[in-house]
């Protein structure tokens, strides 16, 4: 061990200056870029929270917005509501994601490739659409599921318009993210540890509980962190499910008091958002503390790894059944509602009469509309380009955050979370203001959308990369350097291929989010380049739910195909490598 280390030091020292210089330059560049992307728009909002003038204009400093926001006892009551809601939703999403990921990635249950692809589909649908679909399934008066269960089994209806309903639907909305993060970590895990546990006498379940689960703890924590913060910030599900019955959470308060006020009060929205930022930063710190001993989770070492599957024997069919049950709730039911809405002239409870009115006219509209064709082109280009750029940046940030465990590494990671903690609408205002003022030809072009997507959703790409990177032992990099490769070469030839599962997971998450992104796009898109997200929303806003559902169906299928192709392509690359 000591002889190898000494040899390494000698060889490394020859190139130290060049290597340090390259990584320092790249690290510095990444830091500056990230600081610009995240701090520039959020600085506008911070300043707005302390200014008596509208966001984006000069004013006098004041604490009036903080007094208004935080001396209201309702603020704290609603924070507690939000905490309960977010914890429930994040918990459910992690549980479903973990079970689904384990069955899909680590077992020999039949149908796994299909599960993996289908699990992505809900990520494509805007949460507004998913929440609406669930109200059509579980409304106490017209819910298809409730009516069916009542008619066949005599069960009383379950009211989706409740705190439990809100947690359930938000949990489902967040499950694909948890699934992808945990699946990426499971894929990077050395299965020989499980084998060792089994050789030592543990059965499959014990091995999973005592070996697999602890090994995926960073990914589980990552998923819980992201989903908790995401649920605190979430507005769509509470708007559809909670507002009608008067349940209030923090995000609906921000909307009511600030964003939907007349005129909109973004200073107050930014002030409220500061507490969300505090929550997000606190969670990043907790996560970093837990993963500080990252070597504990390092399972991919220079010995090489060949992931293989846990043989469940006859239980594999039960595992498939569990996965199918989860996917039915997660994907099939809301998708069927969407498909049904896309095939009927107006929404009505399914019946023989309703089925007699089936029509393809909403799909005909899609085929004939130039607007739809343009939106598909714009969104696909943005999603492909944006996801690739964001993942490259996320890989670099993850490297400096995980490998260089200095204050600067932590700062980089924290920086990426800053814009994410703001409500989507408030951040969009910050981005709008930041780039409309910038004397560069970005505002009013499609580039501002790309920048805003990368800025807002970087943590989604960063989490799977860091979760995967902590499992890759340093010795592989060190060996590469010993062999004379510099930072760029090591990163490109050694690290990126090893991080491929995380990269692909992040890419798939970002691709599906970018294809339907709404809350920032709606502020920043130009009339010539309307993306899918705003188009879906505008179809709904123009009282065309059938067209919106038809477009939702087409986009979901398109995304599954693109992600499937990407997975296949990456998989081929992986095998070749």
């Amino acid at each position: 061990m000591s002889a190898r280390t000494a040899a390494s030091q000698v060889l490394v020292s020859r190139r130290r200056w060049a290597q340090v210089e390259a990584s320092t330059w790249i690290g510095g560049g990444v830091g500056l870029l990230l600081a610009f992307l995240t701090l520039y728009p959020t600085a506008m909002l911070f300043y707005g929270s302390l200014s008596d003038a509208p966001v984006g204009t000069l004013g006098r400093l004041t604490l009036a917005h903080y007094r208004a926001a935080y001396t209201d006892p309702a603020t704290y009551r609603l924070m507690v509501n939000s905490f309960v809601f977010a914890a429930g939703a994040a918990g459910l999403s992690v549980l479903l994601g973990l079970v689904l990921a384990w069955i899909t990635v680590r077992t020999n249950a039949p149908g796994r490739p299909l599960f993996e692809l289908v699990a992505l589909a809900p990520n494509v649908l805007p949460p507004l659409l998913v929440a609406t679909a669930w109200t059509l399934l579980l409304s106490p008066r017209i819910g298809i599921l409730n009516l069916t269960l009542l008619r066949w089994l005599g069960l009383p209806p379950w009211n989706v318009y409740s705190l439990g309903g809100m947690m359930f639907v938000e949990g489902l909305v967040l499950t694909p993210l948890a699934f992808l993060l945990i699946a990426a970590a499971l894929r990077s895990m050395d299965p020989s540890l499980e084998e060792a546990a089994r050789l030592a006498g543990s059965n499959t379940l014990d091995a999973a509980r005592r070996v697999t689960v602890p090994l995926v703890v960073p990914a589980v924590l990552a998923a819980a962190t992201l989903n908790f913060v995401r649920a605190v910030e979430s507005f769509d599900v509470p708007a559809v499910i909670a507002l009608p019955v008067g349940i209030e959470v923090f995000s609906t308060k921000i909307f009511r008091e600030a964003l939907a006020a007349f005129p909109p009060n973004h200073n107050l929205a930014a002030t409220y958002a500061v507490s969300q930022l505090a929550i997000a930063v606190a969670f990043v710190l907790v996560y970093r503390r837990i993963t500080r001993m990252s070597e504990r989770y390092a399972t991919i070492t220079g010995r090489g790894y060949r992931p293989h599957l846990v043989d469940l024997g006859p239980w594999r069919y039960l595992a498939s059944g569990v996965a199918l049950a989860i996917l039915t709730v997660l994907v099939v039911l809301p998708f069927l509602v969407l498909l049904y809405v896309s095939l009927i002239p107006f929404y009505e409870v399914p019946s023989r009469e309703a089925l007699g009115r089936l029509t393809l006219r909403h799909y005909t509209f899609l085929l004939q509309s130039d607007r739809v064709e343009r939106a598909l082109q714009v969104s696909l280009a943005l999603a492909l380009g944006g996801a690739s750029v964001a993942m490259l940046l996320a890989s670099l940030v993850a490297y400096f955050a995980v490998r260089r465990r200095t204050r600067w590494g932590g700062l980089l990671e924290a920086l990426s979370f800053v814009p994410w903690a703001f409500p989507g609408t408030a951040l969009a205002i910050g981005l709008l203001w930041a780039y409309v003022q910038l004397p560069l030809p970005i505002y009013g072009t499609v580039w501002i959308l790309l920048i805003s997507y990368v800025t807002r959703f970087l943590p989604y790409g960063l989490r799977p990369m860091t979760a995967t990177l902590v499992q890759v032992h340093r010795e592989l990099e060190e060996s590469s350097r010993v062999c004379g490769a510099g930072f760029v070469r090591t990163f490109r030839r050694v690290l990126l291929p090893l991080l491929r599962p995380g990269f692909l997971a992040g890419w798939a998450i970002l691709f599906t989010i970018y294809v339907r992104e709404f809350s920032t796009s709606v502020f920043l898109y130009t009339p010539r380049a309307e993306p899918i997200g705003p188009l879906l929303y505008h179809l709904w806003q123009d009282a065309q739910p059938g067209r919106m559902a038809a477009l939702g169906v087409v986009v979901s299928l398109l995304c599954v195909v693109v992600v499937g192709l990407a997975r296949r392509w990456m998989g081929t690359g992986e095998r070749a490598h």
Binding site: P54, G56, T57, T135, L136, S139, R141, I142, A239, V240, L243, P244, V245, G246, I247, E248, F255, R256, L259, A260, F262, P263, P264, H266, P345, F346, Y347, E348, V349, R357, R371, I429, L432, W433, V436, Q437, Y443, G444, V522, F523, Y525, T526, P527, R528, P534, H538, W540, Q541, D542, A543, Q544, P545, G546
Partner: protein, 341 residues
């Protein structure tokens, strides 16, 4: 004497012809200038399908393409205000509800422009400063009901019946603390209900079973049968009814409506095309086309293809300014949300 008269008539005709020719020449110049600008960028809240109707007429008349950025009123305010404050406006024309456009006018977003088309509107509706158009279309808010759940004779016949206990939990309505339209509607009913207004609002608040983010979700829930009746914009009801949804509305007297205006940007990148677009939008041909698409336009005798539209007495609501909205919002919040969790 007769010769004199002929000469006078001749001179008059020449002057008229000259005026017409001058106007035609000016129009040709404006069209040429608009073509040179290439396009017009419109930000607005009008449904995209209806905007396309105007865009087609405009392109036919001028050969210039209209590009449309569609948004809800609050987002329209955000974007226009941001661009104006940064002095980088990318819009030429704005279409939106009167309360939003009046605020934008105060912020200096618009240029003065009085389109020749405005002549067809009553003088009293013209903007005193010559910046905003007169209201050219309105969006009435009415009592909408599901015809499978309620027969017409079972539906309320007027506003006051909405406060009756038989409707407890059966009414859908946009939350007046979220929707300025909803709050404005309630306040504008006061002169008609007079001393019964307070009791009406209290009774309605108790009866509302579904408090929605917008009037669109209200009408969608009525159409789906989630609630038997609701208070919503009639243009949404029309779109759903056109698709076959079982929805109808109560012919109340009056029916209150939001006014929609338009204006040309002060620093419009395509000012000639912008002015021509406003001319087209507010022209009789433009308004007729909008009416055919289901919009209530402010032209006597022109009605959308909504049953009994011609019999309605549509009254434009008075906007709430920020202070009054804040005051009523608090009051409505207490009444409509106070009893909830």
């Amino acid at each position: 004497m007769q010769v004199k008269r002929v000469v006078l008539v001749g001179i008059t005709l020449l002057l008229v012809a000259g005026g017409v020719a001058e106007r035609a020449g000016a129009q040709a110049d404006a069209t040429a200038a608009a073509r040179a600008e290439g396009r017009v960028v419109v930000y607005g809240t009008m449904a995209a399908d209806n905007f396309d109707v105007i865009a087609r007429i405009f392109a036919g008349r001028t050969g210039v393409q209209a590009e449309y950025w569609r948004a809800a009123p609050d987002r329209l305010l955000d974007r226009v205000l941001s661009e104006v404050r940064a002095r980088r406006p990318a819009f030429d024309v704005v279409l939106g509800p009167s309360y939003a456009l009046r605020l934008l006018k105060r912020e200096g977003a618009f240029a003065r422009y009085a389109s020749p088309s405005y002549e067809q509107f009553p003088r009293a509706s013209w903007d005193r400063d010559g910046v905003l158009s007169p209201p050219y279309r309105v969006t009435p808010i009415g009592i909408v009901f599901n015809t499978r759940l309620l027969r017409r004779e079972e539906a309320p016949r007027g506003y006051l019946e909405l406060a009756e206990p038989r409707w407890r939990g059966k009414i859908g309505m946009a939350d007046p603390t979220l929707s300025i339209f909803s709050a404005t509607w309630l306040v504008n009913l006061r002169p008609y209900l007079r001393d019964r207004w307070t009791g009406f609002v209290q009774g309605l608040a108790e009866n509302v079973g579904s408090l929605e983010e917008s009037t669109l979700t209200v009408v969608s829930k009525v159409a789906a049968g989630e609630v038997p009746l609701g208070i919503a914009h009639l243009n949404f009801m029309y779109i759903l009814a056109r698709g076959g949804a079982p929805v109808d509305y109560v012919r109340t007297d009056p029916i209150l409506a939001d006014a929609h205006l338009t204006a040309v940007g002060r620093e419009a990148p395509h000012p000639n095309a912008a002015r021509l677009f406003v001319d087209t939008l507010t022209s009789r041909a433009g308004l007729l086309a909008l009416a055919r698409a289901g919009e209530f336009v402010v032209v006597t005798g022109i009605h959308p293809p909504i049953q009994d539209a011609e019999r309605l007495r549509v009254v434009i609501m008075e906007d709430l300014d920020e202070a009054r909205y804040a005051q009523f919002r608090q009051e409505f919040g207490r009444l409509f949300r106070g009893g909830r969790r």
